[in-house]
């Protein structure tokens, strides 16, 4: 992604050569060189391309037909629903609608099997690519861990135009003791494929974000499916032990319920 061309023929070359070896430690855009106070033409255009790519990712639609088929092939009972946000444009302006089921979606969930321990919800969120890339691998790792601990899993509810809090309504309708919402996170310039996992004890409509735990950055170049599943199961087991998630679960892995965390939640 970064251009390998040396910045210029002056002292900036020396700076870049010092920093080049450090690039292996981070995907951040370090050692870019400069033209006066500005960026070099190549890095400037690369940045604009990456922004264009992220903009396009935000507006891409998830192929729910194919996803549902793949999940059924893996043995999941799938319930497909839509949020109350009718399209992407309304979804972006009205997060309140993305947090609630449409009337037909509510009817689907109400008709599903109730009373399992855990409701798993998969939503497109702000990145269809994240769900396409990471959902199945995470579920493959997570399911045996849940089964091994004797936790029963309800139908997998797949949500179109969904936000994190839609898991509260779904979990409440299913009578689940805990929800895991797997959702596409907002695309960044370097990563448009990051999945987030939000875990909520005793989900109900109106649950505050500080009552959840979050594991973010699940993607091939970030947190692996295996690591993510291990962290999710760890939080689930603590939630069952203490009867809480979020700040009330004052454990060592709870997420910071700061502005940045909450604003980042799709």
């Amino acid at each position: 992604m970064m251009p390998d061309r040396p910045p210029d023929e002056s002292g900036q070359l020396a700076v870049a050569s010092h920093l080049a070896p450090l690039r292996r430690f981070t995907p951040a855009r370090i050692g870019l060189g400069r033209a006066g106070s500005g960026q070099l033409t190549a890095t400037n255009l690369q940045f604009m391309l990456d922004h264009a790519r992220a903009r396009d990712a935000v507006h891409a639609a998830l192929d729910f037909e194919t996803l549902g088929q793949l999940l059924r092939e893996q043995g999941w009972r799938v319930a497909r629903v839509h949020s109350a946000a009718s399209d992407r444009s309304e979804y972006l302006r009205r997060p309140d609608l993305g947090r609630r089921l449409s009337a037909s979606g509510r009817a689907v969930v109400e008709g599903a099997t109730r009373g399992d321990d855990i409701a798993i919800v998969a939503a497109d969120g702000l990145s269809a690519l994240a769900v396409e890339t990471n959902l199945l691998p995470v579920l493959d790792c997570l399911r045996p861990l849940l089964v091994a601990r004797g936790r029963t899993i309800g139908p997998l509810v797949v949500v179109e135009q969904g936000r994190v809090a839609i898991g509260d309504e779904i979990g409440q309708l299913l009578g689940a003791r805990l929800t895991v919402v797997l959702i596409g996170e907002r695309p960044g310039l370097s990563a448009a494929d990051s999945l987030g996992a939000y875990i909520t004890w005793r989900p109900m409509i109106g649950t505050m974000d500080s009552s959840r735990n979050c594991i973010s950055n699940i993607r091939p170049a970030g947190l692996s499916p295996g690591e993510a599943a291990a962290q999710i199961i760890d939080i689930i087991e603590q939630a069952f032990a203490y009867g809480a998630t979020g700040v009330r679960l004052n454990d060592l892995r709870s997420t910071a319920p700061g502005l940045r965390t909450i604003a980042n939640a799709p």
């Binding site: 700076v15 370090i30 500005g38 903009r55 319920p257």
Partner: protein
């Protein structure tokens, strides 16, 4: 009580004070989302006219968020300084605008007024101001704070170096940190947003930042932006904590959404002070705010998002912070839809906070689901620098790979120093020169001394991941 304005024979009525403030707010998506925005451009101006005629004293008699059930309202009213307010107590909101603009109103007048102002008064007057008013008055304010260097002196612009890494890898953080130092960035704070909020991670990150600071002898402060309760635990474990961070908002309910209240902030403030790590000052807190945070927690009480934002500054100033910044373009298009709304909000937040006596900075930033781009950020940075913004945030190549949004690039700091002549904190400026990164005039050298880079690279290579 209702408020009125007559425009071309049409009488406009606003049912109560919060309705008047909401309708008088320049347009933004968050107020529309809340269902409280003006329904037309004329209604907005009518509300601004009614607001301009309102005596400032009104804000001392009318609760926007009920006093009985909100500790932020109690903090604002119980802490109000009547003597300081006396200078403007006879003015309407409109006359207050002119008083602020008046050349005879000096920097020291504004500093003396700050404790007599409530956030609602500052928000109200900002709503009838143009961008240039917000800039020229903020530029007249002077707020100075200190820890290991001095922030906010005249003609200065400090910067937060934000070397985030998606998995908090120590060498990854250090690599971005070094890259920023080579641009002369980091005098406000070297601050990492952690990927998790475990105490172990927090302790590892502050220890790493402190080690780099000590090895390179940097006169600056560091911070891990974990939750305030995590910071308290880390301090109890003996971790080297310079600044304690927390996100804050403008109502008790919204703050509860962040898992905090005033008493836990006071506990954290005391814990940080007890370490006595500041060398030139004792401002130990760092806060972030942003329009829309109260609404997103359903904790706005029907009050517009800009007024709720200003109320967060009352929480901030209670704890004499070293730094405060709005994360203006971060919270998303449902609150600030595009570059125009982000720009306006950035100037408002900076103005209100400065008027209330805070060392206000800004994360000049946008997300990929907002209608904004790098051109909008260049414009906002330029405007805020003209307004005397205390500090801005910068990351490698404008790309925050942990929080997935765009802040400023380290380069952008050079741009504003070159264009507007703003310099960094004096202690840090001396260090840059001594280290061989800048010349006698504070300009970055094209070819910095190898001795300035080599040891830092070696330090990073030797670190454990």
């Amino acid at each position: 009580m209702s408020y009125h304005a007559t425009v071309n024979g049409t009488r406009w009525t606003f049912a109560d004070l919060k309705t008047l403030l909401a309708k008088a707010s320049p347009a933004r998506s968050g107020d529309a989302l809340a269902g409280i925005a003006a329904q037309s451009a004329i209604e907005r101006v009518a509300a601004q006219m009614a607001l301009a005629d309102l005596p400032l004293k009104t804000f001392l008699n009318v609760d926007l968020v009920p006093y009985e059930e909100d500790e932020v309202s109690r903090l604002i009213l119980d802490g109000h300084d009547q003597a300081a307010f006396a200078a403007i107590s006879h003015l309407t909101v409109g006359a207050f605008r002119e008083w602020l603009l008046d050349a005879r109103t000096t920097t020291s007048d504004l500093a003396a007024l700050a404790p007599g102002l409530t956030p609602e008064m500052a928000a109200a007057v900002s709503k009838i101001m143009r961008a240039q008013d917000l800039i020229v008055i903020a530029a007249k304010c002077s707020v100075t704070t200190a820890f290991r260097n001095t922030i906010g002196l005249a003609g200065r612009l400090s910067t937060r170096l934000q070397p985030n890494h998606p998995t908090d890898d120590s060498r990854g953080i250090a690599a971005s940190l070094l890259d920023g130092l080579l641009f002369g960035v980091g005098d406000a704070v070297i601050g990492v947003n952690p990927a998790t909020d475990s105490v172990e991670d927090y302790v590892r990150i502050v220890t790493l930042l402190d080690e780099v600071r000590q090895r390179l002898d940097i006169p600056a402060q560091s911070c891990c932006l974990g939750h305030v309760t995590t910071a308290i635990q880390a301090i109890n474990l003996g971790a080297p904590v310079d600044l304690v961070f927390q996100s804050i908002a403008g109502s008790e309910k919204a703050n509860r959404g962040f898992g905090i209240d005033l008493s836990v902030l006071a506990e954290a403030h005391d814990a940080a002070l007890s370490l006595n790590r500041g060398t030139v000052g004792k401002n130990v807190m760092y806060f972030e705010t942003g329009q829309g945070s109260a609404l997103s927690a359903d904790a706005h009480f029907g009050v517009d998002q800009q007024t709720m934002e200003a109320r967060a500054y009352a929480v901030a100033r209670r704890f004499k912070p070293l730094l405060v910044n709005t994360v203006v373009g971060f919270i998303g298009p449902e609150y600030l839809y595009n570059g125009k709304e982000i720009t306006r909000a950035g100037l408002e937040d900076h103005f209100c906070a400065k008027l209330l006596g805070l060392p206000m900075g800004c994360d000049v930033c946008y997300t990929n689901h907002a209608e904004a781009d790098a051109d909008d950020m260049d414009a906002l940075l330029t405007l805020l620098s003209a307004a005397g913004v205390t500090f801005v945030i910068a990351v490698p190549g404008a790309d925050d790979i942990m929080l997935n949004y765009q802040s400023l690039a380290y380069h952008d700091v050079l741009y504003v120093r070159q264009t507007l002549g703003r310099r960094c904190a004096p202690e840090f400026e001396d260090w840059l020169r001594k280290t061989g990164l800048t010349d006698a005039d504070g300009r970055l050298l094209e070819r910095p001394a190898s001795a300035a880079i080599g040891p830092a690279v070696a330090l990073i290579e030797a670190m454990e991941a």
